[in-house]
């Protein structure tokens, strides 16, 4: 499959953000629950949870799933604090 010029421009716009230790979507999914509870609680997060938050911010599919998780658990969330 050949990329268009526009696609190569798009690829160049994020290619240099590639790092060796990125986490996968499946890794991120395993940490969604802890991240969601931390977010609803308003507390701090572990380094691992912070890495998952970073992945969610950059991955549209995980962002979509994470938003759905927040919506799904909103009524069952523990109170802040």
């Amino acid at each position: 499959m050949k990329l268009t010029r526009a696609e190569m421009c798009l690829l160049l716009s994020f290619l240099y953000e590639t790092s060796d230790d990125e986490i996968t979507c499946d890794d991120a999914l395993e940490g969604f629950a802890a991240l969601a509870e931390a977010e609803l609680r308003g507390g701090g997060v572990s380094a691992r949870t912070a890495a998952i938050a970073e992945h969610v911010a950059e991955c549209p599919e995980c962002a979509e799933e994470y938003a759905s998780l927040l919506a799904a658990i909103a009524a069952a969330a523990p109170p802040p604090g």
Binding site: M1, L3, T4, R5, A6, E7, M8, C9, L10, L11, L12, S13, L15, Y16, T18, D20, E22, T24, C25, D26, L29, E30, G31, F32, A33, A34, A36, E37, E61, E64, E65, S68, L69, A71, A72, I73, A74, A75, A76, P78, P79
Partner: protein, 212 residues
């Protein structure tokens, strides 16, 4: 997390895991309660978008949760973890339906270079730098495998990784690895050509001044 709402049916994490494994009425009650909790959560998250399918999604999610009880790490409520699996199941099924019948070759090429580039014609030096970066990238794209190129193209054209994987006969993690390996190879090739991040950023920006 010690707090449990009525939606947890008063069970803590360990009770959920123990009772879900149990045979007889205790196990049946736990599985029924968890399924009801998943249906309610999916209803909140998806509303009319999923409709009556939430019942099927919850059932599939329940099966996966039961298969993966040992994978629960205990760093959240058990029910939140189970819900994360349920929303993944739901999105996977909705994406599968959305992309059904679309091959990788059918995907429309991304063609909005204008949205990525600053307005106005670049000066000669910048124009040359862009052409050099694009030529180097095109050359590097010729060096990666067909499957890696298909993953990169599929991602750029908006197809979810799971759906790309379905078409290549591999799972989501394998798609990620193909794409990640491809990006690393492309990056190495560009850097070997003397094209660092600052050079490429400058070439495609509207910043004042000469090349870095």
């Amino acid at each position: 997390m010690g707090s449990t709402s009525g939606q947890d049916e008063g069970r803590g994490n360990e009770a959920w895991r123990r009772e879900l494994r149990a045979a007889g009425p205790e196990g049946e009650a736990a599985r029924r309660d968890l399924r009801a909790l998943l249906v309610a959560g999916l209803g909140r998250a998806f509303g009319a978008r999923a409709g009556a399918q939430v019942e099927d999604f919850a059932q599939e999610a329940l099966v996966r949760v039961l298969d993966r009880l040992d994978a629960f790490r205990g760093d959240s409520r058990f029910t939140t973890w189970a819900m994360s699996i349920a929303v993944h199941v739901a999105h996977s099924e909705l994406r599968r339906a959305h992309w059904k019948g679309t091959s990788l070759e059918d995907l429309a090429a991304y063609d909005e270079a204008g949205a990525l580039l600053p307005e106005g014609a670049p000066d000669a030096e910048r124009s040359l730098a862009r052409a050099r970066a694009l030529a180097a990238l095109e050359g590097a794209l010729g060096q990666i495998t067909d499957r890696q190129r298909a993953v990169i193209a599929g991602e750029l054209r908006g197809m979810p990784q799971e759906e790309i994987g379905r078409r290549l006969g591999v799972g989501r993690n394998a798609v990620y690895k193909l794409g990640h390996d491809a990006r690393r190879a492309l990056l190495r090739a560009l850097v070997a050509e003397g094209l660092g991040a600052d050079d490429v950023r400058w070439a495609f920006s509207g910043e004042e001044g000469g090349a870095p």
